[in-house]
């Protein structure tokens, strides 16, 4: 587990690195979020008001102050994926995870989100799980992917 102060020490003490710090720290956390305590520490370190840090986190959709599941599953539903059966991918995920857009499974393993274009339209439909992007999806492939992830945990 990486401590926030270790990440803070890596960057110059300047406001312009706030987003880089937030992204790197959030990625290192299992539940992909930034807590009030974290905001407080960053505020003191960079001498930026807490309200401003909250403003930044709440602006960017990759940053969160709400805990998420271990795997954040984001399905693209923009036009190029939509016309390539993205709905069936989403429906399959709803079916096997038992949750809908914005929700997290009871065991805190998966959060499901509908997301914007991932820039993989040449291999639509696509989805993203944490840092990795998966393309050329079918409902079967998706099912296998989720099973594999579940298997990894055990």
């Amino acid at each position: 587990m990486i401590l926030l102060r270790e990440i803070l020490a890596k960057y110059p003490k300047e406001e312009e690195y706030l987003i880089e710090i937030l992204l790197e720290y959030q990625t290192s956390k299992k539940n992909h979020y930034i807590s009030e305590k974290d905001v407080n520490e960053i505020s003191k370190h960079l001498d930026i008001p807490e309200s401003q840090i909250c403003s930044v986190i709440s602006f960017y959709s990759l940053l969160s102050m709400v805990p998420k599941g271990r795997y954040v599953v984001q399905v693209c539903h923009d036009v190029p994926c939509f016309v390539n059966e993205a709905q069936s991918i989403y429906d399959k995920l709803v079916e096997i995870l038992g949750i809908e857009d914005g929700e997290t499974t009871e065991d805190n393993l998966f959060t499901l989100e509908i997301t914007e274009c991932l820039g993989c339209c040449n291999e639509a439909p696509a989805m993203r799980i944490n840092e990795k992007v998966y393309t050329g999806l079918t409902p079967t492939k998706v099912e296998k992917l989720i099973l594999d992830l579940r298997g990894e945990i055990k």
Binding site: E36, S51, Q52, C54, S55, F59
Partner: protein, 572 residues
């Protein structure tokens, strides 16, 4: 110079003038909404759009610099349509229940909608009602009325350096709230009320305590008295339709009596008292090696700021209560004794230009019996205006009546408390004469007057040159506090006021306060001073009598119990 046209009128303007600035000079009206004279240009509401010949897009006149040969149309069908559509969009995400809003008929959105002839909305409402922040004793935030103009954020961040509020989220979910979406609290907000002062609608308003006052006035068992702050006498007239800077002191007394107050007193009296106590405290610290620089303590917004952000310098602050609270303490001790009453029958109301005074009045330290607040209710200038309108009083033409006795005689030094630099000047008028034992020939300390952020003066006290400073707005207070914290402050005495211009620019003052209006109110305050018979606090015979009769001596035991207080850090 730039030559261009607006609505076929030839305009000549200086370089780097915006279309809006130029239009205003020529009395061409372009409606605005997010624009506010003393704050930064936001160009967010898009109401002030105009058409430029040859361009398909419309341009905001508040931010577009006029260029040579521009042809501007402020009222083309395209512009009028755009303006109307934008207003309808705002109204569709706004709690437009005007008759249930304190800003009804005093609301910039309402005025603009009326001006643009909007009597129906093509768009359905998309407002998602959120809970109201009613958690503190001073300010009520109703986010359902917010039009996201950003003025409150600007004043809190840039004028007050507090950054309590910011815009969270984006798109239609964008909301202006404190950090973590929490409610305003005394951990981070000083309750200065500047946000409420600049809000164009009813999204941030001071808590309405007039009901409590009506209840007290209608209670035959209570002896209800009221004190009026220095700044109110040059502001209430403006609230009731008279020009800014109208001096209406004795009209206020008359109106308050009409409302049913049993006695009307002047906070100026305890301002004089503050000078005696604080002046002696300063002399004591200078003589006996006490903590210096000493900092004034009559501004509750400043006290909140110091307790939150600079707890390490709290022992620099004078232990004197504010004039409001000194009055309250005397009103619950000396006054009932003198008038042969039970202190619990005395109900004290104060009229203040300030919102933070509402917080100050309910502080635990401000209860001489440790149970009941010394000041029961604080009303802002605006709230008093509301009560006067409710009673149908013709304020401008009301008969003038002097303040009641005791506490009847006050000085010019007390009156100038309402302006930034006033407390300092009042204190110097007294301290100079007490220390140097000679008459101060010119009692005007011009270098501490006016709207400059930090002002300085030098005075000779007992053969030594002493430097003093005056700051207003918390951004400037911060600069001086950093010096004090670091031990590098060159000053002996510092006056701090939270609000721009001092109390006359307070959070509870009439809406639409601009630099120009501040200057008029300030000029009026110094006029009041000039017109007073007595100009120095220590020459006030009623103050001398109070000490002889009751308090014994400045900084004495009784003074200590009634007129002094202490502070504590708010850090967790």
């Amino acid at each position: 110079m730039v030559n261009f046209k607006i609505n076929n009128v030839e305009i000549t303007a200086e370089d780097n003038t915006t279309i809006l600035q130029a239009a205003r000079k020529y009395h061409i009206d372009i409606p605005t909404l997010c624009n506010y004279p003393d704050l930064s240009i936001k160009s967010e509401c898009r109401v002030c759009v105009v058409e430029l010949q040859g361009q398909k897009k419309l341009f905001t006149s508040c931010s577009t610099i006029a260029r040579e040969g521009m042809v501007v149309n402020t009222n083309s069908p395209k512009v009028l349509n755009a303006r109307k559509t934008i207003l309808e969009l705002i109204l569709a995400n706004h709690d437009a229940n005007c008759t249930a809003c304190p800003k009804n008929l005093n609301c910039e959105l309402q005025t603009l909608a009326n001006k643009l002839g909007i009597d129906k909305n093509r768009f359905p409402t998309v407002l998602e009602v959120k809970p109201i922040d009613n958690s503190n004793p001073v300010l009520v935030r109703n986010i359902n009325r917010c039009i996201k103009c950003g003025r409150c954020i600007d004043v809190c961040k840039n004028v007050q350096s507090m950054s309590v509020l910011d815009i969270m989220g984006r798109s239609k979910d964008a909301e202006i709230t404190p950090a973590f979406g929490k409610y305003l609290s005394d951990e981070s907000c000083t309750y200065c009320g500047q946000c409420s002062s600049v809000c164009p609608v009813g999204a941030i308003i001071e808590k309405d305590d007039t009901d409590q006052v009506w209840e007290a006035l209608n209670n035959p068992n209570l002896h209800v008295i009221v004190q009026v702050a220095p700044a109110v006498r040059v502001s209430l007239g403006e609230e009731l339709g008279m020009g800014p800077g109208s001096i209406v002191t004795e009209k206020i007394v008359s109106a308050l009596k009409y409302l049913g107050f049993d006695a009307v007193y002047d906070t100026d009296f305890t301002a004089d008292l503050t000078i005696i106590e604080e002046g002696n405290e300063l002399i004591d610290r200078i003589t006996n090696g006490g903590t210096l620089p000493m900092m004034t303590s009559c501004c509750p917004g400043w006290i909140n700021f110091a307790e939150q952000r600079y707890p390490e310098i709290l022992d620099h602050i004078s232990s004197c209560k504010s004039p409001q609270q000194m009055f309250g303490a005397l009103a619950k001790s000396y006054y009932p004794e003198k008038m042969n009453m039970d202190p619990s029958d005395v109900f004290v109301v104060s009229i203040m230009p300030c919102t933070a005074k509402k917080y100050e009045a309910q502080r635990k330290e401000m209860r001489i019996d440790n149970v009941n607040p010394d000041v029961d209710v604080v009303l802002t200038t605006r709230e008093l205006g509301k009560m006067i309108r409710q009673m149908g009083i013709n304020f401008e033409n009301i008969q003038e009546v002097p303040f009641d006795k005791p506490f009847g005689i006050t000085t010019g030094a007390a009156a100038i408390f309402g302006a930034s630099g006033g407390v300092m000047e009042a204190a110097l008028r007294t301290v100079y004469e007490v220390v140097n034992k000679e008459e101060l020939v010119d009692i005007n300390f011009a270098s501490v007057r006016g709207l400059e952020g930090i002002k300085e003066a030098e005075v000779e006290l007992g053969g030594q040159k002493v430097k003093v400073a005056v700051a207003h707005t918390l951004a400037n207070a911060k600069i001086l506090c950093e010096q004090v914290k670091a031990g590098t402050s060159p000053y002996t005495f510092i006056e701090i006021m939270t609000c721009p211009g001092g109390c006359i620019g307070g959070g509870g003052q009439p809406y639409g306060t601009t630099t120009e209006i501040r200057e008029k109110r300030i000029a009026a305050i110094y006029q009041v001073d000039q017109d007073m018979a007595i100009r120095k606090s220590h020459e006030n015979p009623d103050i001398k009598a109070l000490y002889d009769e009751y308090l014994e001596k400045p900084l004495g035991q009784k003074s200590h119990h009634l007129l002094h207080t202490h502070y504590h850090s708010r850090n967790k």
